[in-house]
Subunit: 389 residues, 2 copies
């Protein structure tokens, strides 16, 4: 018989699973047990620490090999990668871009940077990512196809792209969303910031859409300190993104000519050196994190009113951050759980505040967002570092 | 008697000054002879490599101590620092921003990022930076003062700010430009990307205007791999810049709330660790670079038709990149010098292509730019790494 849900019970289970670890225990901490120091020392000794160097090239090659994407462009962070992806995909000021309201703010901010308008979409409880079936229905109501593309009947603005986000490392249903993008003439961009090491039907995420991005922030499955990358199978997109990431400077032995307004977004070699060492350990990190997820699932299965989120059937997830999902009947207890765990030195966190509730995005177009609203009140992320398994 | 100018003669002198150094010899290479390994190893061992950590705080403290600025905010690069400076200074889309046409492209791009319009100003042969006297005259013709600020009579747009750039590490005449900004109700921003370790009338550049920026790119006097900082004496500007550099997230133990569209611009701790070690050696680097400048000046003084640029009387410069300045009579020989030096493994470079000649800035407002046009054809930068002295 399942015991009745309460915050104390959750705290007890966490203390059993995470007994010998330091307090406070953060949500995600990197492990540097490989060639990190070795490569960084070589990088410093070579004096190539900045925006050119062998480690940046190596890092991109290794990313391509690991993910299967044809092209990879390493940049300063995931936000920069999103910004460039939207630019090279041809999204313009005044266009609308569909994206989940349940996401980290970088997804919406990147759209805003280019003067485009976020248009918020609901999420699925099955993947925690964008609900393709519901979006399909919504677009049949609000979208109108014209020769030049998809338009929003209500605002009159063009809907140019759809950004999906693989939430906490769980892939969205990409086949469904690709079909939908094809039908409605939308560009698909994958925000795979959290999903390095995650697979959709056996294929690594991040090269199903036209472009995708990955983050290597300190809290991700691997880190470069700060860093991100664009993945694509489209050579023109890759060339454009790389060009824009290096101030759009034209190659020449000495002359400084730039053919457009570029950005200073290239990943420094120093950070790429760290990334090369981290990538070597990625299969190990994925295994450990999947083991940890299984341990959480086992440990919490006897608690009534909650579940540990399980990857969708079509996915093999990196379980970047484990999710303790409260039943709707218990969602008012979320803050109690957050308070109690923090008090006991176990860092937990709720989902991000939904984008459409933030002041700068409160006026953006949106569909019914009831599932995301519900998920927001029920998600609690648990400590998920690889070394905890 | 001075010998007649020619490219061969320049090459001969360079071979005498730089005899025992590797070929190819790049324009500027960092030196890592201090605590670089030490601090970076500590940083990795601490596992705090990303956008928070003790080295970022230390780096900011050390920058404040060295420059005398009250506040420093470390970010991913100088371009990001310029972008944030313009934002927190209140420059809006549609405003005009005065800046030298003779500058690196980041100065103009940052203005463009926020939808403002670069308005190009001429440079002075005395400082290689913005010509304050000529700008003063120009503004008396084109600027009109209204209660809400300074307006361009020709375009009707507000002129909100003036960005000065301390070219190759030589300060502009800040007193003159501050008076001019006061008179015309303009915000002064110093682009000190190249000028860490440079002084105006004995006071470090970078806190005369409301805000200033520094770059720590790999080719600068000190490097963090990639990096930049905002300096200011205004606490509100510092608070705003720091907030925007961290995605505008409101402090809370777990909740994700953001009150505006921020940016992912914070310098990673890993890069700051390198910066702390580099800053410790900065006085040494400055001394070496000033020695090298003196050696260049001595070595070239017998060559007719050229001079090595000497710091303005009011300045004590870091001589970031030494400048060989051709007389107007010899400016057609610039490319010959560039070709010959490159052929012989000595990397030299011309000035940046002037901003108003680039396609994306060709339509921007501008004044007479004849001095900058002349300088562009006569400047040749020489290898200037500290270890060459």
């Amino acid at each position: 018989m399942k015991s009745k849900f309460k915050a104390d019970a959750i705290m007890q289970v966490l203390d059993i699973i995470l007994p010998n670890h330091q307090r406070p225990l953060v949500l995600h901490e990197p492990s540097f047990a490989g060639n990190e120091w070795n490569y960084i020392k070589q990088c410093i000794d070579s004096r190539w620490v900045s925006s050119a160097g062998q480690y940046v090239n190596d890092f991109e090659e290794r990313l391509k090999t690991f993910t299967g994407a044809k092209y990879a462009v390493a940049v300063v962070n995931g936000t920069a990668a999103l910004h460039l992806s939207l630019l090279v995909a041809g999204v313009k000021a005044g266009d609308e871009v569909l994206l989940p309201t349940l996401t980290f703010i970088a997804t919406a901010n990147a759209v805003k940077y280019i003067g485009a308008i976020p248009h918020f979409v609901d999420s699925s409880e099955y993947s925690l990512g964008l609900d393709g079936a519901k979006l399909n229905q919504y677009l049949h109501d609000v979208a109108s196809q014209k020769p030049e593309g998809c338009f929003n009947k209500n605002t009159g603005r063009r809907i140019k792209a759809l950004i999906v986000m693989h939430t906490f490392g769980h892939s969205v249903d990409l086949d469904l969303l690709l079909r939908l993008c094809q039908e409605h003439n939308l560009i698909l961009i994958e925000d795979a910031a959290e999903a390095l090491g995650s697979y959709y039907k056996g294929k690594h995420v991040g090269h199903h859409g036209l472009l995708s991005i990955i983050s290597f922030n300190g809290n991700k499955i691997i880190t470069t300190g700060g860093g991100g990358a664009i993945l694509t199978n489209d050579s023109l997109m890759a060339v454009k993104a790389r060009h824009l990431s290096t101030q759009a400077k034209l190659p020449h032995p000495w002359a400084f000519n730039h053919d457009q307004t570029g950005f200073n977004y290239r990943m420094p070699n120093l950070n790429a050196a760290l990334g090369c060492a981290q990538l070597e350990q990625l299969p190990h990190f994925i295994k450990k994190k999947r083991d940890l997820a299984q341990r959480y699932q086992q440990a919490f299965k006897s608690l009534e009113g909650i579940k540990i989120f399980h990857e969708p059937d079509y996915a093999t997830s990196n379980y970047w951050l484990n999710v303790l999902l409260l039943d709707e009947a218990h969602m008012q207890e979320r803050d109690h759980v957050l308070q109690l765990t923090h008090k006991n030195g176990i860092m937990t966190r709720p989902a991000w505040t939904l984008m459409h509730k933030l002041p700068m995005y409160a006026q953006c177009p949106l569909m019914d967002l009831s599932t995301a609203e519900s998920l927001e009140r029920r998600i609690i992320n648990l400590p998920s570092s690889a070394f905890l398994a």
